[in-house]
């Protein structure tokens, strides 16, 4: 028995060695072997893998590999660049004419035409298809007919604002002016779909077909997906490796262990517990780069206690009582950056990010904090409870630290306590049911790198992610004005004015910007993370 076990282990180790050398492919000049494949950690996508139904990173990762859309966000700068779009023209920021580039096909040979886009968008918007990203199409004329808000049966099967004018051209009519609309078109929900998606939907879901640099070779749901380089890919961003195997891990700690043991090439989520060792373990093969994610504390503005005169002083006071520098250093090991505005550094100065925009209000000053809170009438009920979900994301640690910081500043051991909620689903349903009694955790991962995306969904009256139900006429007006602006630079400036309103009212306390983190094996080079904290797979070189 024991002998047999030993033999098996030896065989196993030998197999690992063989596979490793076989994958190595012989070329060790570091230039990269375009046929070699790599393996990467993955999480089981939460929803069926359809462009308009995928709203989390794991499914988005795959869509980014197998789809290319009208626009693509530059992996380094985040700028929206024309990709399948030959040109997008408008004179009034409301009616757009989109010409699709010739020469693109899906990996099954079908040509990508204007119809591929229009059909896909109609499918995504249609209420009867249950697509979770349907609201991305809400600006298009006719959305309320195909997706009635009250849940009644749709009275139309297509969006009236979309019209195919010839094979490669279609027009989009929006229900309101939206100057930055073309820049949103890089989001996966706007990807084109081949006819087989509609004719054989179940078959397509088993093995999705797209038009990106990779094709899906095999997909075992819940365990792994093998992607191969698509040799006939017509785009400029061809894959520089032979393919990627995405392996589902039950725990990111195991993925990290596998990376150390040489069993895995790329981990795109370094577990919090390993952050202390990661520099020793991997050296410069550890990436820690800013991503378009900001964490904030939101407030229940539907609760009169938090929405009376002086409340803004209390909120600002709380903001000043949080020692962001210390918390990001000790709890997050510098994988977060203290926030000083309500957007993200990935936007760049031109895109509307401004360091220090928050001013004094985000600077730690316990004395001033105490004074402000007293001036504002004190904490409602003498205590704040910060609500968070305890199941994922190790939120407990930082909430406790934030409370600790507030308690120290106010010289009161019970001024702030954490209020854990068991599951994320329960946390979300309590928010939707407006049951929050004090500040609560809010995080925002951008859909596209636009200042509009950091403001409008979060603070516009009744917007989709305005969880605190904050409402301000001045802010709404400025956002409308910015959206109607045809000049992008002017639009950004107007959005910043709107952000100023958020600041002056302290509609939410900005905490920190989140970085993407990744670690990789010695076989890989040219690994980087895009502004969405997803590895740029097609540029990775394998030696």
């Amino acid at each position: 028995m024991r002998g047999a076990t030993h033999a098996k282990w030896a065989a196993c180790a030998a197999a690992v060695a063989l596979v490793a050398t076989a994958c190595g492919g012989g070329s060790d000049n570091g230039g990269g072997d375009s046929g070699a494949t790599l393996s990467s950690s993955w999480g089981d996508p939460q929803n069926p893998l359809e462009p308009a139904n995928t709203n989390e990173v794991q499914g988005g990762k795959v869509l980014d590999m197998i789809f290319r859309s009208l626009k693509r966000y530059n992996p380094e700068t985040g700028a929206a660049e024309d990709w399948l779009a030959e040109k997008i023209e408008t004179t009034d920021s409301q009616n757009f004419t989109i010409t699709v580039k010739d020469g693109w096909t899906f990996s099954n040979g079908e040509k990508v035409t204007a119809k591929s886009f229009v059909d896909a968008w109609n499918y995504g918007a249609d209420l009867k298809n249950n697509q979770k990203n349907a609201y991305f199409f809400e600006y298009i004329d006719g959305y309320s007919k195909i997706h009635p808000d009250d849940g009644s049966a749709p009275s139309a099967g297509t969006l009236s604002g979309l019209k195919v004018t010839d094979e490669m051209t279609f027009t989009v009519k929006l229900k309101q002016k939206f100057s930055t609309f073309p820049d949103t078109l890089g989001y996966p929900a706007f990807a084109p779909l081949p006819q087989s998606f509609f004719s054989d939907h179940a078959g397509w879901l088993k093995k999705p077909i797209g038009n990106g640099p990779y094709t899906i070779d095999s997909y075992t749901k819940g365990s792994q997906m093998v992607l191969k380089k698509w040799d006939d890919y017509p785009g400029e961003d061809k894959a520089e490796n032979g393919g990627v195997t995405l392996k589902v891990y039950t725990d990111n700690n195991t993925a990290y262990t596998d990376l150390l043991a040489g069993n895995l090439d790329l981990v795109d989520d370094v577990p919090a517990a390993q952050l202390k060792n990661v520099k020793n373990d991997l050296g410069d093969r550890y990436l820690n780069t800013p991503a378009g994610i900001i964490q904030t504390l939101a407030f229940p503005f539907y609760d009169p206690n938090w929405n009376k005169s002086g409340s803004d002083k209390v909120r600002t006071g709380l903001s000043r009582a949080i020692d962001r520098d210390q918390i990001t250093k000790t709890i997050f090991q510098d994988t977060r950056t203290p926030a000083s505005d309500w957007t993200s550094p990935v936007l760049g100065e031109e895109g509307g990010f401004e360091e220090g925009f928050c001013g004094d209000a985000c600077e730690y000053d316990p004395d001033e904090a105490k004074k402000l809170i007293e001036e504002g009438g004190g904490l409602p009920g003498g205590q704040v409870k910060i609500t968070y979900n305890a199941d994922t994301g190790s939120h407990k640690q930082w909430v406790d630290a934030v409370c600790n910081s507030i308690n120290n500043a106010l010289d009161n051991e019970t001024a702030c306590v954490g209020n854990p909620v068991g599951t994320f689903a329960d946390f979300r349903s309590q928010i939707s049911d407006r049951k929050m009694s004090g500040p609560f955790r809010a995080g925002w991962q951008m859909d596209y790198p636009l200042i509009q995306n950091f403001l409008q969904p979060l603070y516009y009256t009744n917007a989709s992610s305005n969880d605190g139900k904050w409402s301000n006429k001045e802010f709404d007006g400025l956002v409308d004005q910015a959206n109607a602006e045809t000049d992008t630079a002017k639009a950004v400036d107007t959005f910043k004015e709107a952000e100023g309103v958020v600041r002056d009212n302290m509609a939410a306390i900005p905490l920190w910007y989140q970085n993407g983190s990744a670690g990789y094996s010695e076989r890989l080079s040219n690994v980087k993370l895009n502004p969405f904290s997803v590895p740029v797979y097609n540029e990775i070189k394998v030696s």
């Binding site: 028995m1 098996k8 282990w9 065989a11 196993c12 180790a13 690992v16 089981d44 996508p45 939460q46 929803n47 069926p48 709203n55 209420l127 009867k128 249950n130 697509q131 979770k132 349907a134 997706h147 009635p148 808000d149 009250d150 849940g151 879901l205 075992t220 749901k221 819940g222 365990s223 792994q224 392996k247 589902v248 891990y249 039950t250 725990d251 195991t254 993925a255 262990t257 596998d258 150390l260 043991a261 069993n263 895995l264 994922t392 068991g422 599951t423 994320f424 689903a425 946390f427 979300r428 349903s429 309590q430 928010i431 939707s432 809010a442 991962q445 969904p457 989709s464 992610s465 969880d467």
Partner: protein, 307 residues
């Protein structure tokens, strides 16, 4: 015997209904599962309502339960949130966990019973003290510590095994995870066997067998062991269900995509269909294993009769 089996099977029905109803209610009080499906933002109300209708969540709980149980009897366990039928999830994860359980049970039987017999026959001997100490250590150290340590030592430091189990999850790959999963039970099996053997060693029938001049080996295997195994068999039998349901820690550490992993995902995503489906099957496994154990008594000790 036949009547006994039928009576036991009938008894299973209320247990089965009670257990599934309890799980159903527990998952339902955790809040609205649809709310967690759209990430850090609110689902748009129309889509949310549509999804609720699709998963049958818009009806009262008792009605949901009745429809669910009705479907279960026709073999339809519903659909998980990612669009996969729950039966498909089961067909990929149960074989893996069953393999893992078999490995663990084998370890319990082979190592546990052997150590138990050896120590039981030599009470007070240094071997006995040594094994007792060892089992004490194994029982007191939590499984995830043993698991992570073995993974780090064998997988990363010495490179004998892969730290994670591949999609195929073959028996060879499951040896170390199986040992980790079995460890605590193994220690109990050892102690249980030891006590039982030591007790029966002094009984009349063993003395008679020795006096008749039977060879030592025959006395131990045919007379002593057979009678001493009754409590051990009970323990191992009930352990089958516990191991399958409790593999969640081991499965997480070694990246095994088995029942524990699916249950964990199901609970995190509050997927009633997945959780209730898997628990239903686990309850069945538990009940059947218990029945088999009771029937095995008669094999071990013919004096036990069922009517």
């Amino acid at each position: 015997m036949g009547r006994y089996v039928i009576r036991r099977l009938l008894q299973m029905i209320p247990v089965f209904i009670g257990a599934t109803l309890l799980i159903f209610l527990m998952v339902n009080v955790m809040g609205d599962p649809i709310a967690g499906l759209c990430g850090d933002r609110e689902c748009d109300p129309a889509t949310a309502a549509q999804l609720e209708k699709e998963f049958g969540l818009d009806k009262p709980v008792w009605q949901q339960y009745l429809t669910y149980m009705g479907n279960v009897f026709t073999g339809d366990f519903g659909t998980a949130f990612n669009g996969q039928p729950v039966t498909e999830l089961m067909s990929t994860s149960f074989p893996v966990t069953i393999r893992l359980t078999i490995v663990a049970i084998l370890f319990e039987i082979v190592i546990g019973v052997t150590l138990g017999v050896v120590t039981g026959l030599r009470r007070g001997h240094p071997v006995d003290t040594g094994v007792l100490l060892l089992t004490l250590v194994v029982i007191s150290v939590p499984t995830f510590v043993t698991g992570l340590l073995l993974q780090l030592l064998l997988g990363v430091e010495w490179g004998w095994i892969k730290p994670s189990v591949s999609t195929d999850a073959t028996f060879g790959e499951l040896i170390v995870p199986g040992l980790v999963l079995a460890s605590v039970s193994l220690a109990y099996v050892t102690r249980l066997t030891r006590t039982s053997i030591a007790e029966n060693k002094r009984s009349d029938y063993v003395r008679t067998a020795v006096a008749k001049g039977l060879p030592h080996r025959r006395v131990v295997t045919r007379h002593l062991l057979r009678n001493s195994l009754i409590p051990v068999v009970t323990f191992i039998g009930t352990d089958i269900g516990a191991l399958m349901g409790g593999a969640i820690v081991t499965e997480r550490i070694f990246n095994i995509h088995g029942v524990g992993y699916q249950l964990y995902q199901g609970i995190l995503r509050q997927n009633t269909q997945t959780v209730v489906g898997f628990v239903t099957v686990l309850v069945l496994v538990f009940l059947v294993a218990n029945l088999l154990v009771d029937l095995l008594y008669a094999v071990l000790d013919p004096r036990i009769r069922y009517a």
